[in-house]
């Protein structure tokens, strides 16, 4: 445990699985909490894979003898946690789990609404064991909604929130290529844990908060609802932005893509100078934001023409950034892996994983008092910490609120 982190001494009973919930408890672990990932030995987190899923998720494309411990997705999202094997359908293990939960400050889950209580680990059951417990339940849909008992996936949250619609244009909606609703739900859940802990510090009270993932994305584009409710929402433009002209992602001559966002006249002057030197002459009137916005189609066409002749987008980005023009090349996995900024500033942490080997893992964007929140351990092997954690439990049986 890193005593220099704010959640040192906080213990989390982690009933999350797949991506959204584990993203939330990954943040808690990064901030110093001891996160105990409870896993059924026969049905562990499905993100562990089963040796029959995508080989691209495995070291050297090899499932190995131990596939459940070698999955890249699981091993990314679960750094810094401990794994405890418990079958929450076995009376014996339920008893152990309840004794363990009684030692925890926080319970977090991402089952559909009502499941946590049916398992015997809902707030009403746990408060008998630990009155100040903070329970954050990430449901797919709100427990009070017509869809309460439905399961949900990131694509559904994307679509239901308005995100898919807003990502597209008049030709149709566009679904975010990764399930962005999952990490967003986890991040709001982690925030809810923090406010619950702060309130507990002040009042001694626990709480039960639900984070409906179907609605967690909505506050990420509150201004769109403001515009819509005022009746002033504008036309959607793919990769456009009301404050940017030009603004978009453009192909370059070497088959790559370059993102450019010009938000003021100073930035435009820098862009125009480079364009002009490349033989694409900006038109009179484009010096002002209003002039560019009023002639947007031609501005965008000129920028596209200019950038389609660029053979070294990295050099262009460096030149534009020297004048503080927001610009970047579109990065894929290899680019990210080699990114100088991320590497030189310590975003990746090399971790020795007993089954997957030694590899760098991405971190979180947090620094506290100048130090990164670096994971102190790789993702756990299935059940790796069972003996250590359960062996330290008090031995007396619980006398209140026995699970039925």
């Amino acid at each position: 445990m890193n005593e220099d982190l704010p959640l040192a001494g906080i213990r989390v009973f982690d009933l999350t699985h797949v991506w959204s919930g584990p993203m939330g408890t990954r943040i808690l672990a990064a901030l110093g909490a001891e996160v105990l990932k409870i896993e059924n030995p026969d049905r562990p987190d499905i993100l562990r894979g089963n040796g029959n899923d995508l080989r691209l998720r495995y070291p050297d494309l090899d499932y190995g003898d131990d596939p459940r411990n070698r999955n890249a997705w699981f091993n990314t999202q679960n750094v810094g946690k401990k794994s405890v094997r418990l079958d929450l359908k076995s009376p014996e293990d339920i008893e152990k789990a309840r004794r363990l939960a009684a030692t925890c400050d926080v319970v977090m889950s991402n089952y559909r609404a009502g499941v946590l209580s049916r398992m015997g680990f809902g707030y009403e059951q746990l408060r008998d064991l630990r009155p100040d417990i903070v329970v954050v339940e990430m449901t797919a849909f709100p427990s009070t909604s017509p869809q309460a008992r439905a399961a949900g996936f990131g694509a559904q949250f994307d679509a239901a929130s308005g995100n898919t619609w807003l990502s597209g244009d008049e030709s149709g909606p566009v679904l975010t290529g990764f399930a962005i609703g999952d990490p967003v739900g986890g991040m709001f859940a982690a925030a809810a844990v923090m406010t619950g802990l702060e309130r507990r510090r002040r009042t001694g009270r626990g709480c039960h908060v639900e984070i409906p993932q179907s609605e967690a994305m909505m506050p990420l584009f509150g201004e769109q609802y403001v515009l819509e409710s005022r009746g002033t929402a504008g036309q959607l433009r793919m990769n456009g932005d009301p404050t940017g002209a030009p603004h978009g992602i453009y192909p370059t001559a070497n088959g790559q893509w370059l993102a450019l966002g010009v938000h003021d006249d100073g930035q435009w002057a820098a862009v125009a100078a480079v364009m002009d030197s490349a033989g694409v002459t900006p038109q009179p009137g484009w010096e002002t934001a209003a002039g560019r916005a009023g002639d947007l189609e031609r501005v965008e066409a000129a920028v596209s023409t200019w950038l389609s002749g660029i053979t070294d987008p990295d050099a262009l980005v460096a030149a534009l950034q020297a004048d503080r023009v927001p610009s970047a090349r579109v990065a894929g996995p290899a680019d990210l892996f080699a990114d100088e900024q991320l590497r030189d500033s310590g975003f990746f942490t090399e971790l020795d994983h007993p089954s997957a080997g030694r590899h760098p893992y991405p971190g979180l964007p947090l620094r506290i008092d100048g130090a990164r929140t670096v994971p102190d351990r790789p993702a756990p092997l299935l059940g790796q910490h069972t003996g250590e954690v359960l062996g330290a439990l008090p031995h007396e049986r619980l006398t209140t609120g026995e699970a039925s």
Partner: protein, 313 residues
């Protein structure tokens, strides 16, 4: 949904000029804190509607000086006031070769790896819209600052959040995959998920689970044993053909019929809703999801459904 008053004992001085810092201040407002707007000149990506959303509930910092518990600002600062906790937003980070580079949402999404995941119908990478990644940086900052509050550690503390790293941190596993086996492919991290046009709108379908459920929904039992689709890994190799199957299915159905088909066969589907449709959702309104913003109009609250505030110990 519900705002809380759980941070009503906290005073925050919001000296942020970026979307991220101001969003962090907004989250404190949503949790009951007193947030004073220091009146910094907002960045050039913040529209009037955006500022009305982000600054609703904040007070203008006027009158006698107040010693805040928390100061929010953007690098390089300086902080306008001392406080026990300081929250700072960095575009890229406090150090590193690009520490001084300029950023906006589209360049962050591009450089941070998110834009490569999403492509339009012509193959162009799509960053999305708005200021979502910058808001997520504000959410990280809020979370870590409240963690510090709850720890109540002696002395003063500083929390910093990088916008670029925020984007990279919310991706599935691109760099781990590359480190594990050298693959630069994103396709397998993207679904298979589809936007399907129906006769009166659009639905999304997640096609990553049991294949026979999908063939039943598509009314194509002849594809039950089709080797292109039975195994998930093979499905990615034939994702365009799979998309055509869904297109044909959706073309003959209304959104309601498509959703009913999905429910009947346990295939995850959802209607693609416009902001107008979301605002008109009676269930959201009944649960108090919306709040009025400065200057008129409505915006969503934080997604916290407060079930119980607990018992006294």
């Amino acid at each position: 949904m519900s705002r809380t008053t759980w941070l009503s004992h906290v005073t925050v001085l919001d000296a942020g000029t970026s979307a991220a810092a101001r969003y962090c201040g907004w989250l404190f407002v949503q949790n009951g804190a007193r947030v004073l707007d220091h009146g910094g000149r907002p960045g050039n990506q913040l529209t009037e509607a955006t500022l009305d959303f982000l600054d609703t509930g904040k007070e203008r910092a006027a009158g006698p000086p107040v010693t805040p518990d928390i100061v929010l600002l953007d690098a390089p600062g300086p902080a306008p006031s001392a406080a026990r906790l300081t929250g700072v937003i960095d575009a890229y980070g406090p150090e590193g070769p690009r520490a001084d580079w300029a950023a906006d949402e589209v360049t962050l999404a591009a450089m941070g790896g998110a834009a490569a995941y999403t492509v339009g119908r012509d193959g162009t990478p799509v960053y999305g819209f708005g200021l979502r990644y910058q808001y997520l940086a504000g959410l990280y900052l809020f979370t870590a600052l409240v963690a510090e509050l709850s720890a109540s550690r002696p002395g003063s503390h500083e929390v910093r959040v990088s916008l670029l790293e925020t984007v990279a941190s919310v991706l599935p596993y691109p760099t781990t995959q590359y480190a594990y086996n050298g693959s630069d492919s994103l396709l397998e991290q993207s679904g298979p998920r589809f936007v399907v046009a129906c006769t009166d709108g659009w639905v999304v379908v997640y096609a990553g689970l049991a294949w026979t459920a999908i063939t039943r929904m598509l009314e194509r039992p002849d594809l039950d044993e089709d080797r292109r689709f039975v195994e998930l890994g093979d499905r990615f190799g034939h994702v365009a053909e799979l998309g055509l199957l869904f297109d044909a299915w959706g073309a003959g159905r209304t959104v309601a019929q498509a959703l009913a088909d999905g429910a009947a066969h346990d295939v995850a589907t959802a209607a693609v809703r416009s902001p107008e449709q979301v605002l008109a959702d009676p269930d959201l309104s009944a649960r108090g999801v919306w709040h009025e913003v400065r200057g008129g109009g409505h915006a969503p609250t934080i997604p916290n459904l407060l079930v119980t505030e607990g018992v006294s110990t």
